[in-house]
């Protein structure tokens, strides 16, 4: 057993030297964990934010101007005034999401109690903005109109009031979420590709075959590859979390960092082993590249980093429950935002560990048949 570890150690060192030689690859890794995280964190707003809105103002009254002025950042961009045709065209081109149609004599009708209507057109293909955006607009407009009425509107005065507090992210800031989720995505993509492609490269260059005539077992080669490449990704991801996400972006990290590091390590091993498994299936690099794309793209879509798992069909949710990526996203949210401990995340962690073992075993079983097929 001691021999086994020494061999793994030797091969790990070799992997490290190999990796250091590929400048472009190292550059890409650094980019993935720094600039890419920042761009996504600053650019992506999952909530209603900076939404485009236009007014078709056929009233041109004080009230219609006031309504316009009340629509403000951060939820909405400053409204533009357009004619009906432009509005339609810009909705078509996707450069507008909301169009408020203030009919002629709106203010006059309102004051006269004729109950005019205010049309709000919403581009419903902008799913993240449309639903909530309308609710926000309604409340903005109702407030302004209530003020504009000569005598106070006897609305349904609440007999009590609500104090909603959003926990773990009081201002519902997207950057807190998207920065961490981008790290997870990068870890997934990188682990699958780095380890898988490294195996194929060694196969194409005949170096794996060379190792297998030495007193080196397939398990030593596989584990060394996973550990060495995994360690690089692990360290890069952890540094990125601390320096880029925590220090630079100022995202508070609620839970135990040690616990998160443990889970991250398990996850990196699991996806690296998945990459190795894919590599034993693909005959050469071009096929491997194409095989990897749907794997990481689907893992991402189903992970809960893109859209919440709770919204998915229940049948699918059962399947997703065993995907390591989804489990990792779930436990990341628990630990880093909610500050949960091991007692909460043990189940997802277990799923990750089990899948790591399964992937690794499959890869090992296929390892030799892969070499034979080459012959």
């Amino acid at each position: 057993m001691r021999r086994w570890w020494i061999t793994v150690g030797l091969l790990c060192r070799k992997e490290a030297v190999s990796l250091r030689r590929d400048g472009v690859l190292l550059g890409l890794i650094v980019f993935a964990f720094t600039a890419a995280i920042l761009v996504v964190a600053n650019g992506v707003k999952a909530e209603v934010s900076h939404a485009t809105i236009a007014f078709i103002d056929e009233d041109r009254s004080t009230l219609s101007r006031q309504l316009r002025e009340d629509v403000q950042e951060p939820y909405f961009q400053t409204p533009v005034v357009v004619d009906r045709e432009t509005a339609r065209e810009r909705l078509d081109r996707g450069t507008l999401i909301f169009v408020v149609d203030v009919p002629p004599r709106f203010e006059a009708d309102l004051l006269a109690g004729r109950m005019p209507s205010l049309d709000v057109q919403v581009d419903a293909t902008a799913m993240t903005q449309a639903g909530l955006g309308v609710v926000y607009l309604q409340s903005i407009f109702l407030n302004r109109i209530a003020e504009a009425m000569p005598r106070p509107v006897a609305g349904p005065a609440l007999p009590f009031h609500l104090v909603p507090r959003i926990r773990f992210n009081p201002n519902a800031e997207s950057a807190w979420f998207s920065s961490v989720m981008q790290i997870v995505t990068n870890v997934t993509v990188l682990s699958i590709i780095l380890v898988g492609a490294a195996v194929i490269r060694e196969r194409e260059h005949g170096t794996i075959e060379h190792l297998l005539v030495l007193p080196v077992s397939a398990s030593e080669i596989a584990v060394a590859k996973i550990v060495a490449n995994g360690l690089v990704i692990f360290v890069a991801a952890l540094l990125s979390l601390l320096l880029v996400v925590h220090v630079w972006l100022g995202v508070p990290l609620a839970g135990s960092l040690a616990l998160f590091a443990l889970c991250l390590f398990a996850y990196v091993i699991a996806v690296s082993a998945l990459g190795m498994m894919l590599a034993t299936v693909a005959p050469a690099m071009p096929q491997f590249g194409l095989l990897a794309v749907p794997v990481y793209a689907v893992a991402y879509l189903l992970s809960g980093a893109a859209t919440p798992v709770a919204n998915m069909p229940s049948l699918l949710q059962a399947v997703i429950g065993v995907l390591p990526t989804t489990q990792f996203v779930s436990l990341t949210q628990s630990i880093l935002y909610r500050g949960a401990g091991l007692e909460t995340v043990w189940l997802p962690l277990l799923v990750i560990v089990v899948s790591a073992v399964l992937f690794l075993l499959t890869a090992l079983v296929r390892f030799r048949s892969m070499l034979a097929r080459q012959g």
Partner: protein, 943 residues
Amino acid sequence: MAGRPRRSAPGRAVSGAVSVPDAPAVPPPAAPGAGIRVENVGHCYGKTEALRDVSVDLPAGTTIGVIGPDGVGKSTLLGLIAGVRRLQGGRVLTLGCDMADRREREAFLSRVAFMPQGLGKNLYPTLSVRENIDFFARLFGLDARTRAARIGQLLEATGLAPFPDRPAAQLSGGMKQKVSLCCALVHDPDLVILDEPTTGVDPLSRRQFWTLVDQLRARRPGMTVIVSTAYMEEAERFEWLVAMNDGQVLACDRTEAILRRTGRATLEDAYISLLPEAERAGASAFSIPPYRDPGGAPAIEADGLTKQFGRFVAVDHVSFHIGRGEIFGFLGSNGCGKSTTMKMLTGLLDVSAGSAKVFGKPVRAGDLESRMDIGYMSQAFSLYEELTVRQNLILQARLFRFSAGEAETRVRAALADFALEGVADLRPAGLPLGIRQRLQLAAACINDPSILILDEPTSGVDPAAREMFWKHLVALSREKQVTIFVSTHFMNEAARCDRISFMHRGRVLAVGTPDELVQARHAATLEDAFVAYLEEAMAGDRENVPAGEAAAGPAVAASGRHGPATGLRGWVARAYAFGRREAVELMRDRLRLLFAVGGPAVLLLIAAFSISFDINTVRFTVCDHDRTQASRELVEQFRGSRYFVERAASPDSATLEERLRRGEVDIGIDIPVAFGRDVAAGRDPAIGLAIDGAVPFLGANIRSYAQGVVMQAVLTMMREKGVVRTEAAPVQILPRFVYNQEFRSVYAMTPGTIMLALILIPTMLTALGVVREKEIGSIINLYASPATVGQYLVGKQVPYVLVALVAYLVLVLLSVTLLGVPLKGSFLALSFGALLYLFAATGLGLLVSAFTTSQVAAIFGAALICLIPGVNFSGLLYPVSTLSGLGYGVGMGFPAGWFQIISLGSFTKGVGAATFVTAYLVLAVSAVVCMLGARLMIRKQER
């Protein structure tokens, strides 16, 4: 140093080691266009000097051999003469064309043929013999009739006519070289440059190859042929010779003149006498003590050993025994099963039938202990290119379980034994073949194995190094009783083995001592005996029709010169040649086609079924401190909502928070003590809503839903209490959800996923295109042909656009039928956008490929560059119009967002081409920009 060459006569280089006072008639100074003139050329790879101030002047219309050991700069010189390598210093005029002048060089490339070192290195393995030659013919712009005629003639002349449809990968080494030669000659060049064409080729094929070259030259006497070789006996057939050593030219003259001047009988001796004094030593012959079998079980026993790959029998009932300490040689043409037999003995390959035993024990795959005793050297270089020579050896020693100190000692000894000290800290990538092979042998011997299995260890190794190599082997065998099992193509090496075995097409033809085999065939030499055995074996299978007989037809060259097609037609024809080849390769690769079309489909289906913004299961817990009618009514409202699902109630606020923290619930409703009483008294109590904001988008939605539910509760409560609102709201706010009235995610997500799938997969299709050719080496065909980088790139792009277009059609079909997302707008407008988009995506892939240096980096780069903007900044989840800052810039600059406008517009909004004009334009421009970028990144010459 004896002295740097100085130019004593125009174009004559003379090394200080040789003085040529009475040089024979040097051809008159070459007129422009006549010969090959190299003046004061130097060439460096990093710090290594490959050529130093080299000057030669050679006549046209003759055969020229370039001789010298490995790593003296032969290949570099040939590359410079052919124009495939960038000139660093000095001047090269080939057939009167200045290689430093881009225009002249490009015009000249159609007159030259360059065959790189390495078996079939410039061939495409999945293409057939005819397709390979046809590709080169098209590259040089031959029209259909000329192509057909010339390919037919060349196949006849080379004896390849019986199997034009066999893929190059399934050819033996000798046949590969013949196909390579056909590829080189198909455009009827004035100058043919062959870099070590017979290295690693069996003797029969070698004979056939040279016969072929002679015949082809006889038909076109004006053709100049330059060949580099490490086989001195082959070099004697050339009219002119350039002898090189250590980056310098020792002599450049007619062969007979060199022999006469040095006064030696053979070229081998002549070459040695040309070397500087200090390097001449060590070339003396050595003798091998006779072999005595020490008894005991044989070291290696093979009985009826058979290996089958599918239907192909690679090794067919092979039996032999090798005694301890014996040197056993394996001879045979390439692809005859030598390597496969060796791999079975090492346990690398499983045995299909029969048995293999080492020291009396059957070979087992997982047996690590038995490997401690075996040294194996594979045919292709299989150490790490990215480690230095020393690092490679240390790794090898450490893996053989030597301690760090012991490994150090052994490596030092190995570096000395195999004369590798000078290169110890260099990486093997830049080293010549011979030195790389020496390194491999050093690695195989590092553990003092009892058995050495060496697969063509001396292929491409120069004579002096081979001598050293064999002295080492003999010492190991006779002094340390190491059993040596070696395969080779060199007859003088075979003659040194204790016993040899001739192999052909998976079967053993004969086994015995070299003398026995020679006598059995009544042959003069071992080579003749081998050829006799081979010809006998081939009589049955018609596999290798010797060249010659068939070549009696009309002279190939008589068909006349043909200018390559020029202008636009010529441009398109060359791009078509690349594209056609790429397409044929792609069509043969079923798996890649499947992934290219199936991958996007899988992605679409999963995304369509999984992604949903409809919130339907918000889990809530109640902490009711009040427990009155009023509080229960409020909770009832949440229970009644289809969005909310109740989880067990929380006894106190702390539990509520804890359950939120554990992610068991999404929202906690905290109803204060005396809530009911306060409401009744109009004291306006506060209800706490604690919402999980880990996913902020979800948190904001839950808040809004909860507020809606509570509002409903209040209205109900009031109605029950008889508080009826007298006044309606003064205004009606009417939201109209356009394009997607039902607000269903699938309508919004399907067009977006098509966008995503069509950037991720087509980009990956082309991302390896260039970098893979760089790694494999077939990019040399671009360097050596008159085709431009632009033609090459377009040829690499178009077939993939077509495949991706099929994937696109499948996606549209799936969306409309299976997913039920109607295509409201114009199919043509969408398809036109898709076409432009696919050009942009595949162009982006090529750009990544041109930029990166390894396949791994290319795959990772393509994945990252497409996934991040594709998912975040292209309108899949978040509309581009709401992005700000850098994100907006990325979104606007990346093609995916523009196609999203077209996809969403066509599917869901039902708008037409007029709306998409800007998007079309941007997509077209980004396609062009990507291709131009890639064009600028790829050089037309090697460094």
